[in-house]
């Protein structure tokens, strides 16, 4: 399968902040996407679980799914009104990491373009799997919420361990965690997607919600 990432996203990851790169750079970007497509092995795994939201003693909300409990204000907002949640994990496999490492030997300018392109391609792959989940939910008469990942907002990164265990990520898609909870291969994403019987806000806000977007080199100025 060929992944066609949004070139604008790659440019944004490269820190261009709304400026259009010259033709040489655009060519370099396209070349990188082509090279990456030759080495990616996109894989995914997801599973749907029932979701309940409970009030804790301290008035906080507790989310229960897949046999685990999570306290997160931000995720509670995201999953408001949901009765179920999909856990998904995707990866592009070890190929992109090898290409980036290879370019890092003496050609860092290539390495950063490959890195940005691979990041954008991971998002593209996420979108494809997300769409598959959306369609599946639709068949059950359910609406999906924007996907949300461990490490966003106050959702702890330690949730990665649960993802890895519940989805059996090492075996299913070849993604394992380091002791410090980093995913290897690095071009991998885990996310939660809430489902509800009511349509809801499905717009994914990114930079607009982030406090540091003002001086962030990756800021998406088109959102402002």
């Amino acid at each position: 399968m060929e992944l066609r990432p949004d070139r604008k996203e790659i440019i944004r990851y490269l820190g261009y902040r709304g400026v259009t790169p010259d033709r040489e750079m655009l060519k370099e970007i396209d070349l990188s996407v082509g090279e990456l497509n030759a080495v990616v092995t996109p894989r995914f795994v997801y599973e749907k679980f029932d979701l309940t939201l409970e009030e804790t003693e301290k008035g906080k909300e507790r989310l229960c799914f897949a046999g685990i409990e999570v306290c997160s204000r931000d995720l509670s907002v995201n999953l408001q009104g949901c009765t179920g949640v999909y856990l998904m994990a995707v990866t592009l496999g070890p190929g992109p990491d090898l290409l980036v490492r290879r370019a890092s030997i003496g050609r860092m300018s290539r390495a950063v373009v490959l890195q940005a392109a691979a990041a954008a391609m991971t998002e593209t792959w996420c979108d494809i799997v997300n769409e598959r989940i959306r369609k599946e939910a639709e068949r059950d008469g359910l609406y999906t919420r924007p996907r949300y990942s461990p490490g966003y907002g106050d959702l702890p990164l330690s949730l990665q361990k649960e993802f890895s265990r519940i989805l059996n990520m090492p075996k299913e898609i070849g993604v394992s965690l380091t002791d410090t909870l980093l995913m290897t291969p690095s071009k991998s994403v885990t996310a939660l997607i809430g489902v509800s019987d009511r349509p809801g806000n499905c717009i994914i806000k990114r930079c607009a919600e982030c406090a540091s977007s003002a001086d962030c080199m990756y800021a998406d100025l088109s959102e402002a």
Binding site: L14, S109, A111, L157, G174, S186
Partner: protein, 812 residues
């Protein structure tokens, strides 16, 4: 009296058991509960599980230890494993099946090994080894490693089994529907690796149902010489009411397994979703089929973790450039531990068309085993070509072979008794294709008869040590014709006779033939063509040598080894033959090849100036401009007046937001190309270094792109960077700072989870070497964070780090 498993394996049908996890789930195992805990909590259920399979007719059944390792059971691993074997023994007794074999089941650790992940290879060997020691002591009959989807982890498990017990070792791996392991290995590469490690049987399990496994099984039967095991799932899984169910029932499964067994398989069973009924019906059908014993395939295969090179068909090229002999710069790189220089040499050869890379890092004053280990693992983290481990130091050879992910070429053994006794046991243990030099205690025979005699002796030694003959490459020894003009003919005759009389494969260090002569490339390329025509299977040479590559590609095209001449056309379409009429300069020296960028750039008068080339990030043009400028300007002047101002201009643009990261780096690379030219002209003179700086990505963090960007920029501005890499322990950083008396340390961390190690590093540095400054950066880093962990400076990007370095060392 129970018959030995090895007397039956590959001689008659044997049945494995089926799924464990799915059955335990049906008995109430909860999601997230570790199945191995039932060895202690619910022993009767485990005994029942085994009894079900034993009564169904399986001959080999697995202990409930798939996930048992010290990572998951740090407290009571021994108890869990010993109990598992005891329960299996009890089941065997109750089912009255004392003839059945207890397989100590080893599954993956769930961690990815270095360099892809963070589990060191030797740690993985230790984790598996511990389980093997407990399981074999408790009375298991064999070790069955299963569900491996990473060749490197598979190798660690096999070594652990072989080093910790004398039981038979079998292994099954999991391929996806394209026939690939999760880390990229193919059926061919996996079989070569595992047969090299001398497993007693190998095959596939899990991941796929019998239908999807058929193409993989077909390939296995074509390449595999040892008995083949096939344990599929009961089809593909789907979720039904929160439960995983499989779609192939016992009847259908047994029909498919009958088909698979008839393809030339030797052991069959099931995996996820299969039940005793699946196994019972399969046993019934399969045991009626005629049994075909495994057939030796006699293929000569060299592999990496993902690539596979077969020797004996189209001749292969082995790049010889990773070798310090006669290379001043390379020797210095080894002394300086400059592995990047060595990696670049590897990448260049891959780009030039090498199929395999020779790795020789021998230098008397360095720790060769450590260097071999570092270079082999680093090379395998940036390229997928198989490697040839080349050393005369047995310790370095063993380190390299042990850590190598794949089946390497080993260079070399010779006819001397001592060499045979040292090298063959290593090849027998780790697997490898072995280069055999036809010389012995008496020296190099001057005629082909003598060389063939030694070759025969080496083949006989291979038989004695249990190394397959096809894994020997006879090196016919090319000796320069400048001292004996018969020598090429002797070598060629040796090649022919190895092919025709011994039916073996050959290898040759081709370039030796012209030592001491002018225009060596001419002699080398003709000799290469003659050697290929005489049956040479593998040429050790410089793939950057155009004449030799031309000879190679032309030979392949002429010998009908290049279908439709596609590879020849791909290499040379659009290029032209060299002009017969030589210009004065061509007749005198070694001009750049016509049409090469260097020729175009240096020849043209309209070439861009140095500053402009750097600003526009054009490396070749910058190097050419520097060369021209040096004819009129002094090196130092060129640096101060042109290079540094151009870099500053780009740096300022970056800070102002008009130049972007890729451009900044391209300019840096252009500047580096120019600096390299300047350095050459300064040969002999010592160069000024503005300061020495340690850079490291901290412990636990494996993202190093940010650190590498900073490194490029600092080097550009004249600093020497001691790059300690990624996942670096605080102690390593502090010890290096103390030993090298370093004044500035740059640390990078990408995640909040790893900023902790950054803090620890700074704390330790403050204790042990308080005068050293620290600068920190990385995706999650902020000024507040930097203050909180007491860093001296937060750098938001590479230029900010450069500015801080100027502050610390004083801008000149």
């Amino acid at each position: 009296m129970k018959r030995d498993l090895m007397e039956r394996l590959g001689k008659e049908w044997l049945l494995c058991d089926g799924g464990t996890g799915t059955i335990l789930q049906s008995r109430g195992l909860k999601g997230g509960e570790l199945p191995e805990t039932w060895n202690l909590k619910r022993p009767e259920d485990i005994i029942d599980l085994h009894c079900g399979y034993l009564r169904a007719g399986c001959d080999i059944f697995n202990t409930n230890t798939f996930g048992a390792n010290a990572l998951k059971f740090p407290e009571n691993l021994q108890e869990i494993v010993m109990a598992a074997v005891r329960l299996a023994q009890e089941a065997r007794r109750r089912a009255n099946r004392e003839d059945a074999y207890i397989a100590l089941d080893l599954g993956p650790t769930g961690k990815l090994l270095e360099p892809l992940g963070d589990l060191p290879f030797e740690k993985a060997v230790e984790l598996f080894g511990e389980v093997v020691r407990y399981g074999s002591a408790a009375g298991a009959d064999l070790v069955l490693i299963e569900t491996m989807s990473d060749s490197y982890e598979a190798k660690a498990a096999v070594l652990a089994a072989k080093e910790n017990c004398d039981l038979p070792v079998c292994i099954t791996v999991t391929f996806d529907e394209k026939g690939k392991l999760l880390t990229g290995g193919s059926v061919d590469s996996t079989v070569a690796l595992l047969e090299g490690l001398h497993v007693d049987a190998l095959g596939v399990n899990c991941g796929l149902g019998p239908d999807q496994m058929i193409p993989i099984v077909k390939r296995l039967t074509e390449v595999c010489s040892v008995p083949i095991i096939v344990n599929p799932n009961a089809g593909l899984p789907r979720t039904e009411g929160g439960r995983t169910v499989f779609n192939v029932g016992p009847e259908e499964f047994s029909l498919r397994m009958e088909e698979i067994a008839a393809m030339g398989v030797h052991v069959v069973g099931g995996c996820c979703g299969t039940t005793p009924e699946h196994i019972r019906m399969t046993a019934e059908r399969v045991k009626k089929l005629p049994f075909k014993e495994p057939v030796k395939k006699c293929r000569t295969v060299v592999t990496s973790f993902s690539q596979c090179v077969e020797i004996g068909g189209t001749p292969v090229i082995i790049g010889e450039r990773i070798n310090p002999t006669g290379k001043k710069k390379f020797k210095q790189a080894l002394r300086d531990n400059d592995i990047e220089y060595i990696l670049q040499e590897g990448l260049r050869q891959e780009d030039s068309g090498a199929h395999i890379l020779d790795v020789n890092v021998g230098l008397p004053e360095i720790d060769e085993p450590a260097m071999m280990a570092a270079v082999v693992t680093k090379l395998q983290s940036v390229l997928a070509l198989p490697l040839q481990i080349d050393t005369s130091d047995p310790a370095a050879l063993e380190r390299g072979m042990r850590l190598y992910n794949g089946k390497p070429i080993v260079n070399s053994v010779n006819g001397k008794k001592e060499s045979i006794e040292t090298v063959f046991p290593l090849v027998r243990k780790y697997g490898g294709v072995l280069v055999a030099l036809v010389l012995d205690e008496e020296g190099i025979p001057s005629d082909a008869d003598g060389r063939i005699r030694i070759a025969r002796r080496i083949y006989e030694a291979a038989d004695r040590y249990g190394v397959p003959r096809e894994d020997i490459l006879i090196d016919g020894l090319a000796m320069t014709i400048s001292s004996d003009t018969r020598s090429a003919l002797v070598t060629l005759e040796t090649l022919r006779r190895v092919r025709d009389e011994l039916h073996g494969h050959t290898i040759l260090g081709v370039s030796n033939i012209s030592f001491g002569l002018p225009r060596r490339a001419v002699i080398n390329s003709y000799f290469l063509a003659m050697a290929l025509q005489s049956g040479l299977s593998a040429a050790i040479m410089n793939p950057g040598n155009e004449e030799m590559m031309e000879a190679y590609r032309a030979y392949c095209a002429l010998a009908n080894l290049d279908p439709q001449c596609m590879r020849f056309i791909e290499a040379y379409a659009g290029t032209q033959d060299r002009k017969p009429a030589a210009s004065a300069s061509q007749a005198l020296g070694t001009p750049p090849a016509a049409g090469s960028p260097a020729a175009a750039a240096s020849g043209g008068t309209s070439a861009m100036g140095l500053a402009q080339s750097v600003e526009r990030g054009m490396a070749e043009s910058a190097a050419a401009a520097a060369r021209v400028a040096l004819t009129t300007t002094s090196p130092l002047e060129l640096i101060d007046r042109e290079l540094i101002p151009a870099l500053d201009k780009v740096g300022k643009g970056f800070e102002a937001g008009t130049v972007f990261l890729p451009q900044l780096l391209m300019s840096a690379e252009a500047a580096k190309a120019a600096f390299d030219v300047v350095k050459e002209s300064l040969q002999g003179q010592t160069q000024e270094v503005k300061g020495r700086i340690i850079l490291a990505t901290v412990k636990g963090d494996i993202h190093d792109i940010g650190k590498n960007i900073v490194k490029v920029m600092l080097e550009n501005y004249g600093y020497e960077v001691l790059d300690l890499g990624k996942d670096v322990a605080p102690e390593t950083i502090v010890d290096t700072a103390l030993r090298e008396n370093i004044r500035l340390v740059g640390l990078s961390a990408l995640m909040t989870t790893t900023v902790v190690s950054m803090e620890q590093t700074i704390k330790l540095l403050h204790e042990k070497k308080p005068d050293t400054k620290t600068v920190v950066g990385g995706a999650v880093m902020t000024q507040e964070y930097a203050d909180a962990i007491h860093a001296d400076r937060y750098a938001k990007d590479a230029m900010a780090t450069v500015h801080y370095a100027e502050e610390v060392f004083g801008k000149k």
